[in-house]
Amino acid sequence: MTPSPSSATADLALRTFARHFFELLGAPIVERDPDLWQVDLTPDQRKMLEPPSLLPLWLFDPSPSDTVRWWIAFTPEAAQRHPEAKLLTPHSHLFSQMEDACRRHGLVFTGTVWEADAALYRPWLWLHVRRTRRWELLETMMEAWGFDLCTGSIRRGLPPAGAALRPGMPPASARIERIRLTPDDVRTALEEVICRNEVSRSLAWAEAGLDRFYEEAAEINAYFDALTHAEEAGDAASLEEERSRRLEEAKGRLLPRVIVEPVAAALLYIPYP
């Protein structure tokens, strides 16, 4: 089957991520064939991917003292070519391990956009959030929002990058503007801007979810009404209690929701003229 252009792009993004990951780890990659890589990991590098402290005692596998060789396959076919190959896809176990390692070391970042003559820096908080629409199914997307922590202005898009961005605070000689927003303010602003954003789009998904909920609620109500009239089961109070519990469960299952999950943050000091 010929992969679609979008899947080819995703595949390229995954390989680029894997290459950068192992380079950052300091583990050399040998491409055995286009879909099968060989990576040699020292015990310390392996611990970055498989921290023993996260394993339950009964699953603890003492790490070997020598360098181990991993085979990484990007397709199920390549995984079949080597009996010990680990499949790397965004839903694979290996990817979860790499993701955990990245989270441990890069969940948050503090940096400064350096400018030689800048005398004043303004702090911005950049939040990367996962936004999920949940009804019977899920629809997920990633987005980044920047918050000016002094004025409260909001900017959608990726944070500044490039050579000028350096880790740490601005130079001691420069002045930093006072932060006026609390974390709660930022959260509130984020919730509002996302709600506004949702409302400006089609809400058909949410209305479909509500319809399903009303349909099921009607079925539940009809059942309990019939029971109450027939006095088939138990006393009226316990029936009512069960009815509301069942309706509550149906809400949890079907009511449309937008779930906002912050996944990374960067506190950036940006020169202010």
Binding site: E84, L87, R134, M169, P183, L210, A226, E232, P256
Partner: protein
């Protein structure tokens, strides 16, 4: 409705208009991130950039997940390969149906042997990967708790908590527990306070009676999604079906009276099977063995009677006398189950002796080292001398004879490492290429052994009956050099070769020494219960409800009956207890729905 925010930044999206959705903000993740910020001054940008890239990749992949494209297929691919799990298309379709059209509530009613546990594990994992479920409660018969734990761990990478104390209910996101424990106080009260995303009940036919404590308890558990697993959704009456469906979707079949009026002709017949089938298809999935699911090649069972050599017989008889003497001395004949169990190690000696003298000698030696009693030491010394004097190995001779009659590959299973070595020595002498397999091998080494056997050896001598994860479909001959006590292990052994992917008929050879405990076990398992020919696996819960300890039951017979005829008569009775009862009709549901095979 969007709450009003105290912040000066608040701008209402559409003033006065309620939103058709609720907004859920992951405050825990946000607080974690915000609290980590002050310590991030030294973090290099590259890790942060990679972290964001990883989240981007994960999110894009999740958004590409559809009902057709399940996340488990990629996520569990390595685990499944390592553990030899073949995700059958019909099982993946179950996940798709539960996800797409059942909204996470289903009765999984496949026939025994089609992998309901695997299907449930797939659904649990898929829901967790999609972020639809986090807290899962799995209620099973007590005897299946460990099996569920191991299946979820090995095949889905889910480390669940096996409930032992009242504190365990809240300690873990995924809890496996016995239904009988869960429904009792104080556990019941704790469970009913929880909010579960998913509830799974195995052997759910125990919920067929709406007036039972089981049903009322499960009905009261707060959950969003629910899976009920049973191969027999109806055992006696159609009303049982109504009870199960009402647990999942109250009102789906109406009230009990409405159900009787609309759907039932009488207790065991549907008014309109087609109509009932259509309504049930929205909450129940049932597969039967056949072309669309799993179709096994034929299995042929060959008993191979073996006559012990004179010195082996002498050794075995002396051991038997010793075991009987110990049984009398310790009061095991009093029929106390505990006393019988205390003798099991001694009966194992008999089993070892019919496997190989070497296996029994090792145990005798250990017993002698641990003994403080002079009389016992003398008896053990005597047995040791008899064991050392054994000449020949009748079973090994029988095995070599079997191998000479064919040029195909064989897997030989034994319970004991000493016997494994003895067999290997005889194969060496006979110039037959062989390789050993045992439970101490790492996963990588197991794969290596498998490949070495496939390419170069004729015989694999294995002590690992489960051989979890390693499958040998390229071989079609299994030899039980000795028989395991646990009947389930017989199926595990044969299951290494007799599974999907096997293209040839499978031959099972049972080596059993005449007039020994082995002959009795074989009689019970083969002739009375027909275990070697069944490809559906055991209904372990049903077994254990009738005979709590299979080993103790056999031991009691062997130790308390004097004559060979009396032993066989008692084994007949035990077999009758274990065989399915006439009113347990696993196919009643198929008859009701008009889907008879």
């Amino acid at each position: 409705m969007l709450p009003s925010f105290p912040s000066p930044l608040a701008v209402h999206p559409v003033p006065g208009r309620p939103l058709p959705f609720a907004l859920e903000f992951d405050a825990r993740a946000y607080e974690h991130i915000v609290s980590a910020l002050p310590s991030s001054h030294e973090t290099p940008a590259s890790w942060h950039v990679l972290h964001v890239a990883a989240q981007q990749l994960k999110t894009e992949a999740a958004s590409a997940a559809t009902v057709e494209r399940l996340l488990i297929e990629e996520h569990c691919a390595d685990l499944w390969r390592r553990h030899g799990v073949i995700p059958y298309p019909y099982q993946l379709n179950v996940v798709r149906r539960v996800l797409a059209s059942m909204n996470g509530r289903a009765i999984l009613a496949d026939e025994v042997g089609l992998g309901k546990t695997i299907e449930a594990g797939m659904i649990i994992k898929e829901y967790m990967l999609r972020g639809l479920a986090r807290r899962v409660l799995i209620l099973v018969p007590a005897t299946l708790v460990w099996q569920w734990f191991a299946e979820l761990r090995d095949k889905f990478g889910l480390v669940a908590t096996r409930q032992r104390t009242v504190y365990d209910w809240e300690r873990s996101d995924v809890v496996i527990a016995s239904l009988d424990t869960a429904k009792r106080t104080p556990h019941r009260d704790v469970i009913l306070r929880q909010r579960y995303d998913m509830l799974v009940v195995d052997e759910a036919h125990r919920l067929k009676d709406r007036r039972s404590l089981n049903w009322k308890f499960v009905n009261a558990i707060h959950r969003h999604y629910c899976l009920l697993l049973t191969a027999t959704p109806v055992q006696n009456s159609l009303d049982e079906l109504h009870s199960l469906v009402t647990l999942l979707k109250p009102g789906h079949l109406g009230s009990s009276r409405e159900f009787q009026r609309i759907f039932a002709l009488d207790a065991r017949r549907a008014r309109d099977p087609q109509q009932l089938r259509a309504v049930l298809s929205r909450v129940m999935i049932r597969h039967r063995r056949g072309r669309d699911t799993v179709e096994f090649t034929p299995r042929h069972v060959h008993p191979v009677p073996v006559e012990l050599t004179p010195s082996e017989r002498h050794f075995y008889d002396a051991l038997t006398d010793y075991v009987r003497h110990e049984a009398r001395r310790t009061g095991a004949f009093s029929s106390q189950a505990r006393a019988i169990r205390s003798l099991l190690p001694l009966i194992v000696l008999q089993k070892e002796a019919v496997s190989s003298a070497a296996a029994a000698l090792l145990t005798l030696h250990k017993m002698l080292q641990g003994s403080r009693d002079d009389n016992e030491q003398a008896a053990l010394q005597h047995l040791l001398s008899l064991g050392l004097a054994v000449q020949g190995h009748a079973k090994a001779d029988a095995l070599l004879e079997l191998l000479r009659q064919s040029d195909e590959q064989f897997i030989v299973f034994t319970e004991y490492r000493a016997t494994q070595h003895a067999i290997q020595a005889r194969l060496d002498d006979a110039g037959i290429a062989h390789i050993a397999f045992h439970g101490g091998l790492s996963f990588g080494r197991r794969e290596w052994v498998r490949e070495a056997f496939r390419r170069h050896a004729r015989v694999l001598v294995s002590t690992e009956s489960g051989g979890e994860g390693i499958n040998f479909q390229f071989c079609c001959n299994v030899v039980h050099f000795d028989l395991p006590w646990n009947p389930q292990r017989i199926e595990q052994r044969i299951g290494r070769v007799h599974r999907l992917g096997q293209t040839r008929p499978v031959h099972v050879y049972n080596l059993a020494t005449r007039d020994t405990i082995e002959e009795y076990i074989l009689y019970l398992l083969d002739q009375k219960l027909d275990l070697f020919r069944q490809v559906v696996g055991l209904d372990e819960a049903r077994w254990t409800s009738r005979v709590p300890s299979f080993e103790a039951a056999i031991a009691r017979i062997v130790l308390t009956e004097d004559s060979r005829d009396a032993i066989f008569a008692s084994l007949d009775k035990l077999g009758s207890r274990l065989a399915p009862k006439a009113n347990e009709d696993p196919a009643l549901i198929d008859r009701i729905l008009g889907e008879e095979a």
